[in-house]
Every structure is written in C-alpha cells, then in structure tokens.
Amino acid sequence: MRLFYRYQDLAPQLVPLDYTSCPAVKVPYELIGSMPELKDNPFRERIVQVFSEDGDGHMTLDNFLDMFSVMSGMAPRDLKAYYAFRIYDFNDDNYICAWDLEQTVTRLTRGELSAEEISLVCEKVLDEADSDHDGRLSLEDFQSMILRAPDFLSTFHIRI
C-alpha cells in the first residue's frame, strides 16, 4: 500500500486513487527518474527501462511494484542477478559485450578515467569473468561471478 501511495504521489493528476478503474496508466520516465531514491543513481535510466512495460521508461503500477520488489532486501539472489544482468546489458542482446562494459564504466566513473584506462578495465573484466572465452559475458558467467561477491545482495538494493 505504501508503494502505491508513492506511485500516486509522483503524478496525482494521472493516477486515480481507485487504480482498478484504469490499470493501464503509465507514469512517464521524467517523473520516476526524479524520485529521491533514483535521482542520483548513475543507472537510473537503465533501471527504469528494464522494468518498464515497453522498454521506453514509462511505468505502470505493476512495473513500479516489480522494480521495487526486485530491488528490495527480500528478493532472491538469482532474481537480482538476472535483473542486474539486464540492466548492465545496454544493447539488450542478452550478452554483456565490451561496448556494454564501456558504457557501465563510463557511468560509474563520470569522466574521471581516460579512454584508454576504460578500455583496459573492460579488457580485464572480460579476462576475469568470461569463462568460455567468447569475448562477452553471458548470464551464466555473470551469475558465477556474482557468487564470488557476497556484497552483491546488500549493494543491489534500493530502500524505500
């Protein structure tokens, strides 16, 4: 219920209090991206895109609930790993390739690293995590790498 009120607060004119009357209402990306929990997150665009209905960033209530339930503390590790993989997969081809990694690292470091350093980092990440050596990370590679990172559950978490 609390989540529904948060959703409704984002766009009180669009979302009626009686949600069952028009369940297909979508709140546009700009309003969701301005939530205090997401406002400064470097990946907010990708998060909202991954969970939104048509991948364009506009979310219905179901998408909103989905997003916060996966990002909550109680979602199982596999579910979180699956969605984290989709968030980091910028071109949506079910593999994290070098270009996706470059995008990730750029967003994470916000201009602090030079272009060569970024490409070096991407190379090293692929060296470490790509177990079948095909030059890109599949979901299974990502999951087995996450297994070695016990912090993942507590860091891939948005408190609301």
Binding site: P42, L101, E112, H133, D151, H157
Partner: protein, 668 residues
C-alpha cells in the same frame, strides 16, 4: 497474442505448467515468485495453472485434506506477512538508518545496525530479569536505610546499595502470598532466570554468527583480483548527490590502483628490505604487547591500592579513580596503536585493519580479564560484608565512566576537531568514521554487561539507556562532523568478524567468569539470595534433593542425573556431532573437486566453440569462392557440432553455478 501466452503454448511453457501443477500451493507460489517475469505475466501463469489444476480429477478425501492444509497455510502466510509489515512499520529508527546509509554507505550503516542488534539483546535480558526477578522482589517490603545524595548516580554506591539494583538486596526466602498461595523460590528464580537468558543469548549469537559466516565466507581459491566486482557491485543504496559523486571519485581511484597493480610486475623486495620490514613488525608487536601488559599491571596495582586507601579514608568519590584510569587507557592506547601504521608497511591495507583490530581486542580483553581476576581472587575471598554487591558496583562504575567518555569524545572531541580544522589546520577537517574502534567500544561495554548481569540485574536497563542515547549522539555527530570514507571497506566481511569477536572472547569469556563464580566461590553469608550456602551451585543440588522426595517430579531428577550429570551422555553427543561434521566436510570437499573439474571442462568447451566458429566461417568463405556442393556436407556437420557444444556449454555452466551455490549457499 501476448508474449506470455506465446511462451506458455510453447514446449518449455507446457513443461513449466506441468511441473507446477503437482506442487503444493506454497511451493507453487514460491516458484512463480522467483521467475524472472513481470507481475502481470506471473499472475496470468498462476491463473492458468489454477485452471488446469481444477480440471484434473482428484479423490475427494485427499482433496478435502489438502484443501484444509492449503487454507491453513494461506491464512498463516497472510498473517505472517501482515505481522512483518506491522513490525517493519514500527521498526526503530528505520528512516534514520536509511538516511545514514544513503549518505555514508553500507559500511557505516553496519555500525548502527550492530548497535541496534545489541540493543535488542539488552531489551530481552531486561524484560526477562524484570519479570522474573525484580517484580517478585518488589512485592516484598524493603527497607532503605541510606539517604539519597546525587553522587549515587556516578558511584552506584550509597543509597543504591540497598535497592533491587544489586545482588545483595534480594531475599533468599520463598516468597509466599497468603497461607496457601503459590510459592516463589527466589534462589531458584535468580539462578534460572540468569541462566536461561544467557542460554538464549548464546543460541541467538550462534545462529547469527552461522548465518553471516555462511553468507560471507569466500573460498580463497575463487577470490579474484576484484575489478569485475568493483564494476558490478555498485552500491545502489547511496542516494545523496554528494555522496554519489564522492563514491564515483573513490571508485575511479580504486580502479586506477587496481590497474597499476596488474600492470606492474610483482615487486620483489631485496633481502635487506624484507628483514627491515620483518623487524619492524616484530618491534611493533613487542611494543604493543608490552604496553598492554603494562596497562594491566598498572590497573591491578591501582585496584589493590585503591581498596586499601578506601579502608582508611571514607571519601565516596575516590572509588571513581579506577574506572577513570581504565577509560583513559581505553581512550589513549588504541590511538597510540594506530600510530604504528606510520612505521609498519603492509602488503594489503586489509591486513593493517585486521592487525589493529587484534591488538585492540587483546588490550581490552586483557584489562577486563585482569579486573575479573582481581575481583574473583581478592574481593570475593576477602571478608567484606557483601562482595557481590561490591563487584556489581564496580562494574556499574566502569560502564558509566565508559559511557561518559564516549559522550565526551563525540560531543567535545569531534566537534572541537571540526572547529579547529575549519579555523586553523585544514587537513584535520576530513574526519572519517572509524568503524572498528567504535564497534570495539560497543563490544567492550556488552562484555561488561554480560559479566555484571549476575551481580547487578538492572545492568541491561542501564546499557539500554546508554545505547539509545549513543545512537542519537553518534548520528548527530556523524552528520555534522564526518565525511564519507575514502577507503574501500568490505562491510559484510567485517560484520562477520565483529560478530565473531562478540561471540568468542566476549560472550564466552563472560560465561566462563560466571561459571567460575557459580561453581567455585562462596556466597557472602549475610546478603543475597544464596546466603549461607557453601557454593552458589548448591542451590540446584538442594533443589534436586527436595524433588527426590516428591513423587510427581521424578522425571526431572532422572533428566538431571542421566543427561546433565552423566559423562556418557556428553561423550556420545560429542561423537555424533563430530561424525556429522566430518561427513559435511567430506561432502564440501567433493563438491569443490566437482566445481574445479566443471570449470576446466567449460574452458575446454569454450575453446572448442571458438575453433568450430572459425572453421565454419572459413568454410562459408570457401563455399562462396569454390564449388558449393562439396563443402555443404562439411559445413552442415560443423554447424551440428557447434550446436552440441553450445548446448553442453550452457548446461555445464548451469551445473557449475548450482554446485557452487550448494557449497557456499550465499543469499536466500
């Protein structure tokens, strides 16, 4: 048609539905919830499965029973979820913790969570003590002959001596209201209440320790350099804009350091340099151990001198000298230890943190140890009138002085440092929250509480109040004076270490002190619930003897004699536990071997895949140039082989992930 309906009509979808139908409703809901699909799709899937299930014929008797069980479990689940929602809405400090986590990150938040967790322990102990010991005692008319002066709050002596606060006030009689009312044996109540609350604390600590240990233990073979982890484990909980920018900067610095480590060759130190570093380490260890031992000796002699001084002079404030000195030692010596970092050089900064932690733990535990030795050997065996109350008062004074010093440190020390830094020396302004030192202070206070709970049953209440106040003081000080940390802190591993420290030297030490007290020492003859007995434990022996004579309670006597009192039972129990541990260890080793083999296989299959892809592309090019017909067969064969390799690669990676997560069940 929508995507989910298309999927469900496919072969995989039908398999999913048929696998979901025979499950109980609880398992079905759990499985559907874990599927990586949107909520609408999950809802549709659940409706379809329910429809399919109702179509199937079923036996009426079986279905009635299953239906009852289903509805009971549904009600139970609903009530559990509404209860947990209720608890989380009244959960203490939830909003404040969220703000702290957002601004300072997960590692500082772990300190506050640890504080909250300790508070829960104290609340539980207090409630148990209050209901079973203090309330019955309060129903008896008491007499307090001493007047109240304000100094009691600091010294704990004076008029507080004859209140429910200390052991000496409790009666040793059986409280009886009315001639035939229920009787309440104070002796048994005292020892059983304290015993039961400590046993519950023990199991709760063990459970938490096992949970954290299982989640956070990393197999050192699988530990990677960590660049991939740095990239993919961005802390999504940080929501403050400045904190995010700072974190991004820290991340870039860490990545650069990591890269330079990888690019550089491993620097080999010359023999002379190695010798220099080794001797620096040895010197630092000698100095730190020497300082700790010197402090302990100083505390011991001060305690003796203080008691002799008090016999001749009657200054009530003089008892505060010992706690004051102990708190000063706890304040100054850890900072002195941190200065060793200027001389010693470590390969990894993590080692530095651990070694500092070990030294501080050794110092604090040895001070508590020497004080306990003094109390149990000198105070308890002297001819004081009520030595248990004296020990209780000492512990109360130590705790209070520690609390006062922490308050002063936060309020005066940190604020002053910021003001001086802003006016004069700019570099002092950047204070970082020293998690290890603060957590050790919490552990030290909690150890004192656990030791003192036998001598001063109200001690959990005092610790509760002090933890409550400390939370707010630290929070305000954090927000006003501190900056988010520059160093990388592996929060989850450190929490495991802290809980381990809480369990091993702290709780087990307190338990052993209490065990020595109960089994070896003679209670004082004129005060307390155990007066007149030769040992504290004698009360239990006497109780078992009285039960012998009553016929209805022979089973209690039987349990006592054959299970608790007999050696054979413990021998057999130990043997069973050892066998189970050995079996689990062998299973883990076997899984590790399997993981390694699967890993090698995956690498080989990957090489096969690359080889086949190259061959395929070459064949395709050659096909375009030369005669197609001759090469079609070979190309088809290569394609089929590639598909097979891809299939096995997928299943093997899945198997690897599964067995690794069986071995180290991280997460849910």
């Amino acid at each position: 048609m929508k995507e989910i309906e298309l999927y469900l009509l496919s072969f995989a979808g039908q398999k999913l539905i048929t696998s979901l139908i025979p499950m109980t409703s609880r398992d079905r809901i759990k499985t559907i919830r874990n599927l990586p699909r949107t909520m609408e799709e999950k809802r549709r899937l659940r409706n379809i499965v329910d429809k399919e299930k109702s179509k199937q014929p079923h036996h009426t008797l079986h279905s009635c029973w299953a239906h009852c069980l289903d509805s009971i479990s549904l009600d139970y689940r609903r009530s559990k979820s509404s209860l947990s929602e209720f608890f989380s809405s009244i959960s203490l400090w939830q909003k404040t913790l969220k703000v702290i986590g957002g601004k300072f990150g997960t590692s500082v938040l772990s300190y506050f969570n640890f504080l909250k967790w300790l508070l829960k322990f104290n609340i539980f102990s207090f409630i148990v003590n209050f209901s079973f010991i203090i309330i019955p005692q309060l129903t008896l008319p008491g007499r307090n002959t001493r007047p109240f002066t304000g100094l009691e709050i600091l010294t704990g002596a004076g008029s507080f001596t004859e209140t429910v606060m200390y052991y000496g006030f409790y009666t040793n009689s059986t409280i009886r209201h009315g001639s035939s009312g229920p009787s309440y044996d104070m002796q048994l109540a005292y020892i059983f209440t304290i015993g039961v609350s400590l046993v519950i604390c023990f199991f709760s600590l063990l459970y938490s320790m096992a949970k954290y240990f299982r989640n956070n233990f990393i197999n050192p073979h699988l530990y990677s350099r960590g660049i991939a982890k740095l990239i993919f484990c961005w802390d999504f909980t940080v929501t403050h804009e400045k904190a995010v920018k700072l974190k991004q900067k820290n991340l870039s610095t860490e990545i650069r350091e990591n890269l330079s480590e990888i690019l550089q060759e491993n620097v080999k130190f010359t023999f002379r340099q190695q010798l220099a570093r080794f001797s620096a380490h040895i010197a630092a260890w000698l100095v730190s151990t020497g300082v700790a031992i010197a402090c302990c000796a100083a505390v011991y002699y001060l305690a003796e001198y203080n008691s002799e001084f008090l016999k001749t002079h009657t200054n009530p404030g003089a008892v505060l000298l010992l706690p004051f000195v102990v708190s000063c030692i706890n304040l100054i010596v850890p900072r002195f230890y941190s200065m060793f970092g200027l001389v010693e050089r470590y390969e990894m900064p993590r080692h530095e943190v651990y070694i500092l932690l070990i030294r501080n733990v050794f110092l604090k535990m040895s001070i508590i140890g020497i004080l306990c030795y003094y109390w149990l050997n000198t105070v308890a065996l002297s001819d004081e009138e009520c030595w248990e109350t004296l020990i209780g008062q000492e512990i109360y004074r130590l705790l209070l002085m520690d609390f006062v010093f922490s308050l002063a440190n936060s309020v005066l020390g940190e604020f002053l440092r910021r003001i001086i830094g802003m006016r004069f020396i700019k570099s002092l302004v950047l204070q970082e929250f020293d998690i290890a030192r603060n957590v050790l202070e919490l552990i030290y206070a909690q150890t004192l509480v656990w030791i003192g709970i036998f001598f001063c049953p109200l001690l959990p209440l005092i610790q509760m109040i002090s933890l409550f106040i400390m939370f707010y003081v630290k929070n305000i000080s954090l927000r006003m004076n501190f900056q988010p940390s520059n160093k990388a802190w592996r929060a989850s591993q450190m929490i495991t270490v802290f809980i381990l420290l809480l369990f091993f030297p702290s709780f087990t030490g307190a338990l052993s002190i209490l065990a020595i007290t109960i089994w070896r020492l003679k209670p004082s003859a004129t005060c307390g619930p155990f007066r007149g007995l030769p040992f504290f434990i004698q009360s239990i022996y006497l109780w078992i003897d009285t039960l012998h004579r009553r016929s209805g309670y022979m089973w209690v006597v039987w349990i006592y004699q054959n299970l608790i009192g007999s050696v054979h039972f413990f021998f057999i129990l130990t043997l069973i536990v050892l066998i189970i541990t050995y079996l689990y260890w062998q299973i883990t080793e076997g899984r590790k071997v399997m993981i390694r083999l699967l890993h090698e296989q995956i690498i080989n299959e990957g090489k096969d895949k690359m080889f086949l892809i190259e061959k395929l592309t070459k064949l395709q090019e050659m096909e375009k140039i030369e005669n197609p017909r001759a090469l079609i067969l070979e190309r088809r064969q290569t394609e089929v082989r590639l598909h097979v390799v891809l299939g096995t690669l997928g299943t093997q990676t899945c198997l690897l992930v599964q067995s690794a997560s069986l071995n180290w069940p991280v997460g849910s």
